[in-house]
């Protein structure tokens, strides 16, 4: 009875679903990484690069990322509000609708249905489904927060609220379109407007799927797993509001040196550079928190996940703003540097922090300990090495590419053909696949550890009953 009220089952369901979609997405990531140096791995029409790439990005952002966000938010909200979810049954339905939606989304992308807007590829019937899904989530989160039994709202709750509100607004606006049949539609925005709205959405998808929810987890699980209170409450709040204020103006940094009016690009760059401050507010807060007792890095295995996770967040939030500067953008935009940036964020910050949160939650649900700290440490080192290798190889080849594209002869003509610059990527693309394999083996240790903990917990529960 209690179990259902507290709704650990739903939390666990989301975590397992998230892991499942994570496996699908990562395997496809490996696959497309091979396709980039060996075209024979394309199997037309369903398994070509063009279709698999969107399954990779959607599967991991929405399946792994958002799935984890749903489950972990339910867990955090129940605890910080000191009450069960307002609508536990709705949360259960939400879990099933989520999995159905991701499965349909994947199938539609394999079939080649695509709005041609990055991270908003899904066609309009699925968009409507996703909006319904999000409303189910929002009702439960807001309802529970409004009826909370703890007056004070901890910083994680603020990040959770921002996530729920911002994603709803962004998703609806960017997907506004006029249907032309069940599987085809035309965006209501056109030309430069369309690009501007798309990247306002695209950048904030990073902001409100890969940043704010992960910070909500960071602020909750770091103190929980180390037993060290957050260094400064005020810093966390100021960083929160300035981050939210800054983020929504920055989308046009994806459109530097395009026909977008100069002043819009400039405004976006200004806000983008400003973001270093609020981002580093959280980084500093994390460091100072553990700074009161660095021995936790050794004695509590989860500490290093969070501290390295926030370190990669810190690196991302310096690298990202730098990329927005006109001079830097003109070198690295359109090159492989960008996937290098992306995967330090997704592998080093997002996946690291969510995996650590799951390591914390699963044993708590079963009132037991993690199956193997040793396996968790192996997981940590493998994903760390895999991720660094991925980013570093892509940075090198990205800069090389950018420099070769810009190189001109004395008469002003281009020094290199596109093909000549392309083949120089091959050794780095091969290394990236190797990096991906190392990362994947690390993730297998993680999954094994989680499943064995669940098994151990179930046996324990059965022996008690």
């Amino acid at each position: 009875m209690n179990e259902y009220q507290y709704d650990h089952q739903t939390v666990k369901g989301f975590i397992l679903s998230s892991i499942f979609w994570g496996v699908v997405g990562i395997v496809i990531g490996l696959w497309i990484s091979i396709q980039m140096w060996n075209a024979d791995w394309n199997i037309a029409p369903y398994f070509t690069f063009g279709r698999l790439r969107v399954v990779h990005t959607n599967g991991l952002a929405f399946g792994l990322g958002v799935g984890a966000i749903f489950g972990i938010f339910y867990y955090i909200v129940m605890r910080l509000t000191k009450r069960p979810l307002l609508f536990p049954k709705l949360a259960r339905v939400h879990l099933w609708v989520f999995n159905a939606a991701i499965a349909l989304a994947a199938l539609s992308l394999f079939a080649g249905m695509n709005q041609s807007l990055e991270y908003a590829e899904l066609e309009w019937p699925l968009d409507i489904g996703i909006v319904i899904l999000w409303v189910m989530f929002a009702v439960n989160i807001f309802g529970t927060v409004i009826k909370r039994k703890e007056e004070q709202m901890y910083i994680s709750l603020w990040y959770i609220i921002a996530t729920v509100v911002a994603v709803a607004v962004l998703y609806i606006v960017n997907n506004l379109s006029i249907p032309a049949g069940l599987t085809k539609s035309y965006s209501v925005f056109a030309g430069v407007n369309s690009a501007n709205v798309e990247w306002w959405y695209g950048h904030n998808a990073v902001g409100f799927v890969f940043t704010t929810p992960i910070l909500a987890m960071f602020y909750y699980f770091l103190p929980k797993s180390t037993g060290l209170p957050i260094y400064s409450h005020r810093l966390s709040i100021i960083a929160f509001w300035s981050l939210i204020f800054g983020y929504l103006w920055t989308g046009a940094h994806h459109l530097v040196y395009t026909p977008l009016p100069d002043w819009i690009q400039t405004t976006a760059i200004v806000f983008t550079i400003f973001l270093i401050a609020p981002s580093w507010g959280s980084v500093v807060n994390g460091y100072y928190t553990v700074g009161s007792d660095w021995s936790k890095m050794q004695s509590q295995y989860l500490t290093k996940f969070f501290i390295w996770g926030i370190t990669f967040y810190g690196l991302q939030t310096v690298q990202g703003p730098t990329q927005a500067l006109r001079v830097v953008s003109s070198l690295i935009h359109y090159t492989d540097w960008v996937p290098g940036h992306v995967h330090m964020g997704t592998m080093g910050w997002v996946t690291m922090t969510t995996a650590a949160s799951m390591y914390y939650i699963i044993p708590k649900i079963y009132n037991t300990e993690i199956y193997s700290v040793k396996a968790a440490n192996t997981h940590f080192w493998l994903v760390l090495v895999g991720q660094l290798m991925f980013s570093v190889t892509m940075w090198i080849t990205g800069i090389q590419q950018g420099a070769l594209w810009k190189a001109t002869n004395a008469d002003g003509s281009l020094k290199y053909t596109f093909y000549e610059t392309l083949i120089k990527n091959y050794p780095f693309w091969r290394l990236r696949t190797l990096a991906g394999v190392i990362f994947t083996v690390g993730m297998l240790f993680f999954i094994y550890n989680i499943l064995m903990t669940i098994r151990k917990g179930s046996i324990l529960a059965a022996s008690k009953a």
């Binding site: 507290y6 605890r79 901890y154 270093i276 580093w280």
Partner: protein, 62 residues
Amino acid sequence: MADHFVDDIEKFEAKETAHTLPVGWVILFWALILWGVYYFYMYTPSLGGWSQNSALEESLQK
């Protein structure tokens, strides 16, 4: 069961440093805002005069 269910908010927030902002961070915060004002002025065509097109023309002169 119930004991690990709820969280005490006090355990999350340090008392001694609750309202401290590191000085370095505050400097960074204001410096970035000032820099933003400067950059906005310099790179907005109707203010500082720079524009994407004029920059392109200039680079072609060279």
